[in-house]
Symmetry: C2
Subunit: 186 residues, 2 copies
């Protein structure tokens, strides 16, 4: 049996973020993260596959929630409205993760390997949106366009939120980015 | 002095494409590509840094042309119209490269490492569009949204063109994808 370790995953995440910020992602080792969190490397590996997964462990959960919202949009919703529901569903996921998201974003921006990983996650999200829209009966060529456009909105809105000096609400920013898109393409 | 090698780059590209299709990208070596093209490995390296660059050597030229078209759009053009000019400029680049583009796309789709490389190229294009729009005086948060949306249109239109059984004109497909976007976001 493992020792009693209250929220070891949370402490490991905290420790990793602090170390990535202090000395850079590439120069941080799993042993150092475990040490800072006060657990063994073995405990680290019970929670994360490697030091990269500390940063990306939430991505599947986020994608799942966003896709569910696309599928759950009213039957009457058009493709872009269904995708917008998916984008807005991310707001709930991020609402209590502002500082965490900011620090994570800074680490990713500073590390080419992580930027690439993030691109792959976004491509995965676009593919998942496309599948969800096709399940809603949207024609394939329209489904991929709506999906890719939705991911573009999500990325831009997320960047706006992370950079916002006024700490605006993420859902408000997502909504205004969707409005900006309509204005742009009118 | 090098031996006289008429269009060695072209023959190397042909040989590489044929080998990637026959035995897969990962299992093809530079020596085999050079051999098939009837040149030395030394000649290969005069034209390409490695076997991946055979597939991506045109990307910088494509990005340059697309960005120039954004910058050259009429002063009165809004951000999305300027980006649309950039997207449409790719049509000229691809018009005589249909078969080449199809084969290239098949190799990239089959190889995760190359798909990642392609994502990075698309992120680079979005960043270049953003810069070009900012030079046109577009506000930063609108510039990145228009740029990311333009790249989404480009990717979807390119996929439509490569998959099109009727061999439709690429510029027509780009235009109709832009029209689909307006309809979607109306």
């Amino acid at each position: 049996m493992a020792r009693w370790e209250p929220d070891a995953a949370g402490r490991l995440r905290e420790a990793a973020m602090a170390l990535y910020a202090e000395r850079g992602y590439e120069r941080t080792t799993v042993a150092e993260i475990a040490d800072r969190a006060g657990v063994t490397a073995r405990t680290f590996f019970r929670h994360f596959a490697d030091k990269r997964e500390v940063l990306f462990a939430g991505s599947e959960e986020l994608e799942r929630r966003m896709v569910e919202a696309v599928l759950a949009a009213p039957e009457s919703a058009g493709p872009m409205d269904a995708v917008a529901a998916g984008v807005l569903a991310s707001g709930e996921f991020f609402v209590d993760r502002r500082e965490q998201s900011r620090r994570r974003q800074a680490v990713i921006t500073a590390t080419p390997e992580l930027r690439e990983r993030e691109f792959i996650k976004m491509a995965s999200l676009a593919a998942a949106f496309t599948d969800a829209l096709r399940k809603r009966g949207v024609a394939p060529e329209i489904a991929s366009l709506a999906a890719e456009t939705g991911v573009a909105v999500f990325r831009v809105a997320f960047d706006r939120w992370v950079a916002d000096p006024q700490d605006a609400d993420i859902t408000d920013i997502m909504r205004s980015t969707l409005t900006d898109l309509s204005t742009l393409t009118a």
